[in-house]
Amino acid sequence: MRQRLYPLEDLEDIPGTTVFTAKRSRQAYHLHKFCMSLMDADNRNAFKADERAYLDRFRMTEEQKQAVLDRDFNGLIELGGNIYFLVKLSNTDGWSTQKAVGSMSGMTADEYAAMMRDGGRSPEGQRSKREGN
């Protein structure tokens, strides 16, 4: 068996970063099924007409449903979600990917857009919780 090049826990060592694993993928399966259902215009209309009723068609947890209703993207990622599924929701809302992504950064959309125009977030101090570099 091949040796790992680093301890698996190191994947948890990156600040503000949740690594999407098979386990998380399973945890979010029904949430993601909901997200992918929004690739169909009829489903998007049904969701917009009554978000709660539409969400109840899926075997998602109550927390996942609430986080969708709140458009709480950090919460959705904590509950197993991955951004490539979640943007189906923000696309349905007519949000840009930048707006959806920026909503997780603790900044306003304008602040986030300005940071990106200025060259983005520096990796300095953002590489490792342990090393603080």
């Binding site: 990156i14 503000g16 943007v87 696309n91």
Partner: protein, 279 residues
């Protein structure tokens, strides 16, 4: 005999596709991005391949929910642009090459790559944005395309070295194909970006430029970058850069860099683009 004549790498940011489709490519924000692709649009008019093997990742459009293939080869005659939540991009249907794809699948499995075969799938911005950037607005794409989808989303992704090995095997497989075909290989995605959490918006120009430098000269070193290092240095979505290594390895030991472009930002992402030719 078929031969790989060139490799192209490019980011495949969805917002670039939206700007392209909505005619915002001359806006102050987008003009510098599209200017970086003017050179390749001219070059590819004179160097249009018969087939592009296009390495990209599916963004939870055709896979990733029920099936998560590490490497998936598109086998259909046609691939429709996917509806990613705001209607499908108004771009032509992508025409495949099931004959060459069949040859690749056979040869790559013999070479110990346990490929998934996709007999039907839609293709998302990961595949269609690069086509728009190279070919512009067209009625139909000027060449056939074999999609090669790589899992860069769910851990563990394939390693950089595994992608390198796959690229080398693709080179051998193409060279063994009896038909006289001009084949290009494209690696897409990247460069540094992170689309989640409090570290969202991470951009690392030092890492990106070093990666571009090595791609042209010293690419073997890139095989040793671990998944963890990609995440730390290039952001959680920057690991898409492993797909560039499939492209690079398929070009053989030495390359000539014909063109390079780097720009920050496009939406959340550092845009990188290079055109390489086997030397």
């Amino acid at each position: 005999m078929a031969r790989i004549t060139a490799g192209i790498a490019t980011s495949h940011v969805p917002a670039i596709g939206a700007a392209f489709d909505q005619g915002r490519d001359r806006d102050a924000y987008w003009a510098p991005v599209f200017a970086g692709y003017e050179w390749v649009k001219g070059w590819i008019r004179d160097n249009t391949p018969d087939v592009v093997i296009l390495c990209y990742n599916d963004h939870a459009s055709a896979m990733m929910l029920d099936i998560v293939p590490t490497f998936a080869l598109g086998f259909a005659e046609e691939f429709e642009p996917a509806d990613e939540g705001w209607g499908a991009r108004p771009v032509p249907t992508v025409i495949g090459d099931p004959d060459l794809a069949g040859h690749l699948a056979e040869q790559l499995v013999i070479d110990d790559f346990d490929l998934t075969i996709m007999n039907a799938m839609d293709v998302d911005h990961g595949l269609t944005v690069p086509l728009s950037l190279m070919f512009g607005k067209v009625e139909e794409w000027p060449c056939r395309v074999i999609p090669l989808a790589v899992n860069v989303t769910q851990f563990p992704t394939p390693s950089a070295d595994r992608c390198w090995q796959l690229g080398r095997a693709i080179r051998d497989a193409v060279a063994a194909y009896p038909e006289d075909l001009d084949v290009q290989i494209w690696g897409t995605g990247g460069m540094s970006h992170q689309l989640q959490g409090s570290r969202a918006g991470l951009i690392n120009p030092e890492f990106d430029v070093a990666f571009l430098d090595k791609l042209a000269n010293g690419a073997e070193d890139l095989r040793n970058i671990t998944r963890l290092e990609f995440l730390r240095e290039a952001g959680s979505e920057g690991i898409e850069l492993i797909m560039w290594l499939i492209m690079r390895a398929a070009l053989g030991p030495k390359v000539e860099e014909l063109h390079r472009f780097y720009h920050v930002p496009a939406s959340n992402t550092a845009v990188g683009h290079t055109v390489l030719r086997p030397a």
